[in-house]
Amino acid sequence: MSSATETLDGVDGASAARSNRDIIERRLKARHRAEFRFRMIGLGAIMLGVTLVALLFGSILAKGLPAFTQANITLNVTFDPQVINIPDRPVQGDLSDADYREEMLAWQRRLVFVNWNRIIQDSLAKVVPAAADNARDAVGMVASNERVRLRDMVRDDPSIIGSTKELDLVAAANVDVWLKGNIDRSLPDSQQQLTALQQEWSDQLYERGVISMDFASELFTNVDSRSSPATAGLLGAMVGSIMMMLIVMVVAVPVGVMAAVYLEEFAPKNRITDLIEVNINNLAAVPSIVFGLLGAAVFINLFGLPLSAPLVGGLVLSLMTLPTVIIASRASLRAVPPSIRQAALGVGASPMQAMFHHTLPLAVPGMLTGAIIGVAQALGETAPLLLIGMNAFVASVPGTPMDQSSALPVQIFLWQGNELRNFFEARTSAAIIVLLTVMISLNALAIFLRHRFERRW
């Protein structure tokens, strides 16, 4: 060592000691510097992680929050009997159900062929007279599904024909994009989504307050739509996700808890139990997409269950969540001190009674936490759902778990791929905010339950 040779080279003891001390102090300084550096690296790593969390949430919030408001055009819509020229709505009378339905369908077909564009154009012409001569531009200002809304109003109540109503119509996606500045306004007209006339009208109506930015309730009350992006909503996806979560709760949680009870308390300690144990740990780490393959091959191909059904999705997600629930439940059963079980056995309870009357109730809070976290995980899972056909475009709210449906994460996947990027980037972020809100609430609930009911023994 260099320090040892330096000491030997020293002239007398005192100076040797001082130089020794100097060397050690110098080295100590270096070591403390290294210590400080190491510490700062550690702190930096955590800060980096936290920054990344902030960045992720920040970028999604910044993109998504504006999408919760949307351009609406308030118009006085006249249901002109000249345009809506249809016979009276059929009444059932003594027709059979099948015949009545047939007549009703024929009537509704007539309704579909009414020139709804004309009605929208006339209403718009009341605020911008130029609209009367520019049908194409005028109709393009309003989301195309609003025609369907007008039609449904007449279908439900034909007596409104002839009256004038003030309605908030959703503006077309391109108008929304233009007003929010999500498109470069300096681009030449040929590259704009709105025509020159529409640009002028949009700005003018926005200034006059006819177009206003309102809360985008369509996001929560409408189903997905391809033809009318401005009115595309999450309702179908949310209902599908809720159904799947219910199925996961009904299937995975009880089965997982009972499996945990058996494995922890009653299973004989032999090779088969070991195998089950290894198997569950492995199952927890199997990629989710493999569960999707299982669902496609077994539930759909073998059992013939329908594609895109929340039932199949729920079952696949249940199988995926099962190991999480089992592992969490076993951990919370193990955390109950054995003295409680032994006391129960000591006063003559059978093992089953000791379990169900004493150990299990004490383990419930921990199990609940695990179950909620498992359900939250299942809610955000996308990949296995793609393989069982859930990426299909579904524009309806599922009534039963056997109907076609979408799911929140799949809806996000579909929307991010939409060609109308400058509108759907915000919409997708808004859908992500909805999904994250639900998931974070679920996780917060789990943390709250853990703190509220956790007992230290």
């Binding site: 550690g42 980096l48 059979s96 159900d97 099948a98 199997v286 990949a383 994460p409 994250l436 974070i440």
Partner: protein
Amino acid sequence: MNTLIVVAVLLILLSLAYQWGVSASRSVANASGIKMHSRPAYHGLLVVLWCAIPAAVVYILYLVFSPTISANIVASYLPPDVAADPQATATAISRIENIASGFGAIGDIPPYQNEAAAALSRFEWTARLALIGLAAAAGAFGAIWARRKIAPNYRARNVVEVAIKVVLIACSAIAILTTVGIVLSVLSEALRFFTYVNPLDFFFGTTWNPRFSTVGTEDQGQFGLIPLLWGTIMITIIAMLVAVPIGLMSAIYLSEYAGPKFRLFAKPLLEVLAGIPTIVYGFFALVTVGPFLSWLGATISLDVQATSALTAGVVMGIMIIPFVSSLSDDIISQVPQSLRNGSYGLGATQSETVRKVILPAALPGIVGAFLLAVSRAVGETMIVVLAAGNSPVLTANPFEAVSTVTVTIVNQLTGDTDFASPQSLVAFALGLTLFVITLCLNVVAIYIVKKYREQYE
């Protein structure tokens, strides 16, 4: 709604049976004056079991046989010219079912359809009545049988406990069945794929070009696994390069340096990253990280594509940070305090203790944690679907678009459940590869972590 009423009625009947059993056992106890072996609740439960199981058997028999019988009844009424034509048969059957259910059918109804519908509804009524009658009889019979067996020395508790145990075992078996289901379904479909394509060409082929499935053509494209596997490996390496330093340093700081307050604040924040659905990471990669990396590359005149192995890898690394940090944290905190004290006693600084004592001691466990993280990165789907660019070419350049095993599974199987072409069956061969890789990683990792825990117990 209807089903709910039926379920409610059944539950009420079962609770009546339970009450009957309880009161019966009480009266037996009072009459005989001897102490009963089992508590009244167990006798009640036994009566419920004896009532419910025979009734359920009857119901299952009804479900199995009734559709065949009613189909036979309808078929017997079909005139020969209709029965000969499958299309007409299907229409006729659905019309007959609609008439029988009271909904009616459109247009003129041939007399044979009316007769068949009448016969069908007669049969359905009888079958339903018979079901209710038989089920009630079986239930009542079972309940009476169980009631007669109630005696002071009858071991009702033991019987009930065996029944509960059977249910518990069945629940644990589901976990095993899932694995068996995964292996069998994936393996059998993969074997079918290998009847189209030579396994050697699949596992060692360097070109991925599946073409579209066209029936009857000999030319079926090339299914080489290597480019996909290489894409997966490259993204995994990038992800680990991001996640390991940040995750490990965070874990070290949290377990060795941080005070309890800082820990309480930083740990959940990092764990938030673990709860975010992968589709959200994918979107983040697509709209934020990708363009940013591309811009960063452009400023140092490097051609980085927005969707590339780098983008997917970096974002996947961010996703895995909390996984690495919480696993490493667990493992580091398991290193015995005596090792730290010994090191401090010799004058080592904290960072020296960490680097020279704790990390070597914890190394096996940390390696196990890394392997689990690798397995997770390999199986991750949504991030790579959105951000890796989906171009299955063999390239060593991380700035270019690649494709992975999981992405290709999604691409090949989505929306296609007619498992007849190699183009969709290949998804199962890929799934098998993925399953085997992750299984090996998990088994090794779980084994290492387990051994490591035992070492310090």
